[in-house]
Amino acid sequence: MLDPRTKLFLAFAYMVVLMFTTNIVALTVECALVAGMVFALRLTRAWLATLRVLLPMTAFLVVVMLFSFDVVAALAGALRLVAMTTAFFVFFQTTAPEDLANTLVKSGVPYAFAFILTASMQFIPVLSRKMQEVMEAQRARGIRLERDVASVRNYPALFAPLLIQAFTLADQLAEAMEARGFGAPQRTFARDYALRGGDYVAIALTLIFVMVAWQVR
C-alpha cells in the first residue's frame, strides 16, 4: 500500500491534469483511468452511492454550461467534475484519516491541525445518525419533515436540536481527547510511516503521466 502522502500527491497531480486538459478525447481517457482504478479496487458499489449524490450537481453544471458555452465544453466540465470527485473518493476510501494526519505531522504539519481532519471524519457518521433520530422524534410529534417545500418552514425543528447536540458532542469529544493525552509533546506512532520503493515508482509514473498529458492536452 502506498504512503498517504504519495496518494495525496497522486490525487493532486491528477486534478492538475484535469484542469489543463481541454482535448475531449484525452479527457475521456483520463477519466477512464480513474474509473478503471475504482473497478480494480472493488469500490464500485460505494462509488455508485457517491455518484447518486453527485449527479444532480453535475446535471446543474451541464445546464449552466450549455447556456454559457457549447456542448463540448459542457461535457468536458461534467467529466472533470466527476473525475476529480472520483479521484478524491478513491483517496479517502483507501486512506485511514489517522494515517493521513500522522504522515502530515511527520512532514511538519502541526499535530492539532492534522488531527482536526481525523476527528471531524469520525464526527460525520455520528451526526448523520443524530439527524435521523431528531427527524423521527419531531415527526412523531406531528411536525412535518418530508422532502418537500411545505416542510421547509419546519426546518428549525430539525436543525436546532441537531446543532445544539453537535456543539455538546464536540465539547465532550474535546474533553475525551484531552483525557487521553491529546497535545502531549513526545508523541509516537503505532505505525511506521516512510516512503518506500513503491512510493517513488508511483511518483515517477505520475510525473511521466503529467508530462504526457501536457503534450496531448
Binding site: 485511514a96 489517522e98 471524519m121 412523531a140 406531528g142 436546532a160 483525557a179 513526545q186
Partner: protein
C-alpha cells in the same frame, strides 16, 4: 499509601455562582474501590474531572485547595501528563471515541504517552483481550452498539495502565448484560491492584463490588464509609436510587442491611418469616412521608380491560440493511392496558415502538392502530393518536421556552386543550419551568418536558422508550403513578425497557424480545419463571421475584397471587422458546 489526596477543595465553573465542589477533604488509598454516589448535580462528574486535571486545565473556573494524585499536584501538571496516572472513562460512548478503528482508538493514548511501537502493539493486544473485544479490532467505533463502544472506551483507558481508574456514570443507557460484563472487567483490574473510582447513582448494580461508598450532595461529601454502614443510615434527603433490598430492610426495620438479593434471602430465612409478615404495618410505621425508603411493590391487579385491542401487530417482520430487526412479531394491546416490552439493547424494542406511528413500516405483516392500518396512514395523522416518548429529550427540544415546546404537537395537530395542558404541567411539575429555555434545564427536567410534550395532544396510545434511564427514585415513583392515572382515563401504555424493577411496578403484561423475536409473553411472574426465555433475552429476574422464589416472598406484605378485580389476564401463559405465529 494515599494515592488521591484532596484538601479543602472548592471549585466553581466559569460564570457559575454556586460551587460545584464545596470544601471537600478526602483521601483514597491504593487498592480501594470507591463508589461515588449522589443525585444528578451533586458534583460527581466534577469530582471525576478534578482527579485527572480536566478541572481546572480544560474547564477553567476557580479552584481552591490541594489536589494530589499519585504524588502529582494536578494544578502543576497538564492533563497530558496526568492522563497516564488517572484514566477517565466518560458517560456518553458517542462522544469519547474519535478514531477510525478500535485498534487505533486504543493506540491513541499510548501514542500520546510516547511509548515505543512494540510496546503499543503489545498493549493493544492486552487491552483487547482484557475487555474481550478482539473481534471488534478493525471495526469503526461509530458502527458499534453503545455497550461495545463503552467497552472500547474502557479498553483505551486500561491500556494506559493508570494507577487510578475513574469512571463517570459509565452504565447510563447500558443493559444489564453489558453492565455485568463491565463490572467483571472492573473487578479483575481492581484485583490486579488498580484503584477504582466509579461514579454512579444507581447503587444496586455496583454496591457489592465497592469497598467504600462516598455520597455527594450539593458538592459536599454527605456520607463516607463502608457501603453497609452508609446504607444503614437514613439517606432519604440525598435523592439516591438505593437497592431494593436495602429499602425493604429499612422498611421492615431489620437490624442489618443486606447488599444483595442473595444476602437478603439468607437473612430472611435465618430470621424466620414472622419478621416478613409484620412488614406492611411496620413499613407504614417506619416510613415517614419524607422517607423514600418505601419500596415500590409490583402492581397486582389490572384495571378493567374492555373492548377490542387498540394495537394489533400481526406477524410483523422488519428488515433494515439486509438485517432482520423484527421477526414474526405478533402482539395486542387493549384500552387501559399497560404492556411492557422487555429485552436488552438491540433486541428490537425501539424499532417496534416506531411501527406504532408509522415511522417505520413493516417489511411483512401488518400493524393496526385504532383500526387503522399504518401502511395507509401518515405519521402526522397517527401522531394525534400515538404519543411516542423517545429516550433522548435533546432530539426534540427547539423552542425558546418550555411552554411553547409542549404546545408544539397540539398546535401542529390542531388539538389544543388548555385544561389538559394545565393538568400536564401539574403532573410533571413544570409550572416553575414554563418560561425557561428548554436548553438550560437539567437532563431530568428535559425528560419531563419531553413526556409532557408527547402527551400534550391527548393521544390514546402512549409509547415510552426507556423512560427511567438516568432518573431518580422519586421520578420513577411519580411516573408509575402517572401511567396508572393515564390508564384509568382509557389510555393504552406500551413501554420498552430493560429496567425490570420498573416494568414490574407498572405492567402486568410483559413481552420479552430477543434478537427481534418474542420469546415470552405473559404475566411478569410467569415470564420471570421462564428461565429459557430470560436467558435468551439476557435479563435477570427482579429482586422481588427472586426473593419470592426462595419462599420468603410468599408472605411478603400479604401480596395476592391472583388479580383481585377485572378480567383475568388475557395473555397466554409463558411459553418457552420461540413463539412463531
Amino acid at each position: 499509601m494515599a494515592l488521591v489526596v484532596l484538601e479543602r477543595v472548592r471549585y466553581r465553573y466559569p460564570d457559575a455562582t454556586a460551587y460545584a465542589l464545596d470544601d471537600i477533604t478526602l483521601q483514597i488509598d491504593a487498592g480501594e474501590f470507591v463508589l461515588l454516589a449522589g443525585a444528578s448535580g451533586s458534583g460527581k462528574s466534577s469530582l471525576c474531572r478534578l482527579l485527572n486535571g480536566l478541572i481546572p486545565h480544560f474547564h477553567g473556573g476557580s479552584l481552591e485547595g490541594v489536589v494530589r494524585v499519585d504524588g502529582l499536584e494536578t494544578r502543576e501538571h497538564p492533563v497530558h501528563e496526568l492522563f497516564a496516572h488517572v484514566g477517565l472513562v466518560f458517560q456518553n460512548p458517542d462522544a469519547q471515541l474519535f478514531n477510525s478503528t478500535v485498534a487505533r482508538e486504543i493506540a491513541f493514548g499510548l501514542e500520546s504517552r510516547g511509548l515505543p511501537r512494540d510496546e503499543i502493539r503489545a498493549r493493544i493486544e492486552w487491552a483487547l483481550d482484557a475487555t474481550r473485544t478482539a473481534q471488534l479490532r478493525e471495526r469503526a467505533p461509530h458502527s458499534l452498539s453503545g455497550g461495545e463502544q463503552q467497552m472500547v472506551a474502557l479498553a483505551a483507558v486500561l491500556a494506559l495502565r493508570p494507577r487510578v481508574l475513574v469512571l463517570d456514570e459509565p452504565f447510563a443507557n447500558l443493559d444489564p448484560e453489558t453492565i455485568a460484563r463491565i463490572r467483571e472487567i472492573l473487578r479483575n483490574v481492581h484485583a490486579q491492584g488498580t484503584t477504582i473510582v466509579l461514579a454512579e447513582h444507581r447503587l444496586h448494580a455496583t454496591i457489592q463490588d465497592a469497598t467504600r461508598l462516598i455520597v455527594l450532595d450539593h458538592g459536599r461529601v454527605a456520607r463516607d464509609g463502608a457501603p453497609r454502614d452508609v446504607l444503614s443510615e437514613d439517606l432519604s434527603d440525598l435523592r439516591l436510587n438505593t437497592p431494593f433490598v436495602v429499602r425493604l430492610a429499612r422498611a421492615c426495620g431489620w437490624n442489618k442491611v443486606p447488599l444483595s438479593v442473595d444476602e437478603a434471602i439468607a437473612m430472611a430465612q435465618a430470621s424466620g418469616c414472622d419478621e416478613w409478615r409484620a412488614c406492611p404495618e411496620r413499613s407504614r410505621r417506619m416510613a415517614s412521608d419524607k422517607e423514600q425508603w418505601r419500596f415500590a411493590p409490583p402492581i397486582t391487579r389490572h384495571l378493567p380491560l374492555n373492548g377490542s385491542p387498540v394495537i394489533r401487530l400481526c406477524d410483523v417482520s422488519f428488515v433494515r440493511d439486509g438485517h432482520a430487526v423484527l421477526r414474526n412479531v405478533s402482539l395486542e394491546g387493549a384500552r387501559s392496558e399497560c404492556v411492557a416490552l422487555v429485552g436488552k439493547n438491540g433486541s428490537g424494542k425501539t424499532t417496534l415502538l416506531k411501527h406504532l406511528n408509522a415511522l417505520y413500516q413493516p417489511t411483512r405483516g401488518s400493524v393496526v392502530v385504532l383500526n387503522q392500518d399504518t401502511r395507509r396512514a401518515r405519521v402526522s395523522d397517527l401522531a394525534r393518536q400515538v404519543g411516542l416518548v423517545f429516550q433522548n429529550p435533546n432530539d426534540q427540544l427547539f423552542k425558546p421556552n418550555v411552554r411553547e415546546e409542549i404546545e408544539v404537537a397540539p398546535r401542529a395537530l390542531d388539538r389544543f386543550d388548555r385544561a389538559w395542558m394545565d393538568k400536564l404541567c401539574d403532573w410533571f411539575g413544570l409550572e416553575p419551568l414554563l418560561e425557561r429555555s428548554p436548553f438550560t434545564l437539567s437532563e431530568g427536567e428535559k425528560k419531563r418536558v419531553a413526556f409532557a410534550a408527547a402527551l400534550a395532544a391527548r393521544p390514546q396510545i402512549v409509547a415510552l422508550d426507556e423512560p427511567t434511564t438516568g432518573q431518580d427514585f422519586a421520578f420513577r415513583t411519580a411516573l408509575a403513578r402517572l401511567l396508572r392515572d393515564l390508564q384509568s382515563e382509557g389510555v393504552t401504555i406500551i413501554l420498552a425497557t430493560h429496567d425490570l424493577e420498573f416494568a414490574q411496578q407498572v405492567a402486568l403484561h410483559w413481552i420479552v424480545l430477543a434478537d427481534g423475536e418474542i420469546v415470552a409473553d405473559g404475566a411478569p411472574d410467569a415470564v420471570m419463571a421462564n428461565d429459557a426465555a430470560m436467558a435468551r433475552a439476557a435479563l435477570r429476574p427482579t429482586a422481588w421475584f427472586r426473593m419470592q422464589q426462595h419462599g420468603v416472598g410468599a408472605t411478603l406484605c400479604s401480596r395476592p397471587s391472583t388479580p383481585l378485580c377485572g378480567q383475568p389476564h388475557r395473555a397466554a401463559p409463558t411459553n418457552p422458546g420461540v413463539r412463531n405465529a
